[in-house]
Symmetry: C2
DNA sequence: GCGACTTTGTTCCTGCGTTCACAAGCGGCT
DNA sequence: AGCCGCTTGTGAACGCAGGAACAAAGTCGC
């Protein structure tokens, strides 16, 4: 640990000038990061907030404020140096360090995620796979053999897994979650449509595909309401909405 | 329920009382819906806001406020009738009508989504699959043959697809998106890590798995700051943040 | 039948996040 | 070298969402 002046930054808090980064901004920063790396590949070395905001689909003022959480690394009258910005965003997001991933539940979705190139490409190598099914144990998926869920704690601890991805059916999810926590995993990405109960120091993000569709459905219905297509939302009493 | 001088009395639905359902509330309502259906399967007929909120992982006041957008269907002193609540949430979310889905890009992820039971189970039947790869055309995936992307507009229009799911690589995503829009699709769930450009009347929701991981990474780093594992967050420039 | 208890529905308030708008700063041009 | 125009960074206002608290309302016990 190449710590510098320990005395000056004794608390470890002042080490982080980004004291309060809004949750929403974190998500957007990750998006900026992707846009930026893509632009760098195309040889772009400088971008204005206006252009970057357009590519990321946000307001330019929002973008500038988000970037101000990272620090002031733009040049007025010119824009941002793409390479430098990437570097600083990666630092803020903790991507200077690789986070190894464990995928639990090697069904259709787990299979896909185990092979998802976007994970290793972004610095998240998949280093462990788990399932209950005896027929799957030992079978290599994406070059990595599947282990039994019972060995989650040991293997996660050994391989220093920092992120667990749960793709199991609902009934297994909570149990798997506890095994991951026992293995020292403090970050969980949960695809099972259930709210996991975890200790306070564990962060869970849920990705519920059906919920996404339902939100789309809601907007669809609201948009079509009264456009002449038909009464998509009917009054309450009529039996059912049959189109 | 009080009658407002606003004019129409509150029969609950007809007079567009969901003029203003907060975006965040829509997402939560979908979660409540899932919890409720699960509870109904277990024979639960009545739930208090406290219990339901706990299962959904939200504050009970927030839950009651969310439900008030749907209408007042609880009984004071008792709680909510689960079946009735499900019915009304489904109506609000537009789930009384089935939304057929097209999946574009039958790679690992597309394969998984085409077979994802959560979609049909929730009233979102997958009715069309598309890919570019000639070797895949005609091959049944989950009982449904894959068609060529060129036929997206025709087939989507014919089968009345309302939601398009994009699982293609980034370079193909925008083009596929436009084909879907040409086929009359107004709702898109995008798994490609790119911000799609669409007309105003098209709603896009993006699911970016790498972004989710990066958000987790951010929280992990902030939590573990100073745990001795390594220089997780390195000092910024000497002259970092001046104000 | 009546009182007490339980739970909803709503109102108010606080805090956060987003947007607007503008001053400060930097490069390019003459 | 100095001015001009462009872009950043930020202070202030606005709007929205979330949480606490409370009154209305309906049920259960006696």
């Amino acid at each position: 640990m190449t710590v510098h002046e320990h005395g000056r930054y004794s608390t470890g808090v002042e080490d982080l000038p980004y004291r309060s980064v809004p949750e929403a901004a974190v998500g957007r920063l990750a998006v900026y990061l992707r846009v930026l790396t893509s632009m760098i590949e195309q040889g772009v070395t400088t971008m204005s907030s206006e252009v970057l905001a357009g590519a990321a689909g946000v307001n330019s003022a929002t973008l500038r404020k988000d970037l101000s959480y990272v620090g002031s690394y733009g040049t007025r009258g010119v824009g941002y140096d793409t390479a430098r910005l990437v570097e600083h965003i990666e630092r803020l997001l903790g991507l200077t360090r690789h986070h190894s991933i464990a995928v639990v539940g090697i069904g259709n979705l787990g299979h896909a995620l185990a092979n998802y190139p976007g994970f290793p490409d972004r610095g998240f190598p998949v280093t462990a796979l788990f399932d209950l099914d005896e027929d799957l144990i030992g079978v290599p998926v994406g070059g990595l053999p599947v282990d039994h869920v019972d060995s989650i704690p040991a293997i996660c601890a050994e391989r220093e897994v920092t992120i667990g991805v749960i793709c199991t059916p609902v009934p297994a999810a909570q149990g798997v979650c506890e095994l991951l926590v026992a293995g020292g995993v403090r970050c969980i990405l949960n695809f099972a449509p259930i709210v996991l109960q975890v200790p306070d120091d564990v962060e869970v993000r849920r990705v519920d595909l059906a919920v996404e569709l339902q939100i789309l459905s809601f907007h669809q219905v609201r948009r079509c309401n009264g456009n002449g297509v038909g009464p998509v939302v009917e009054p309450i009493d009529p039996i059912a909405v049959s189109r």
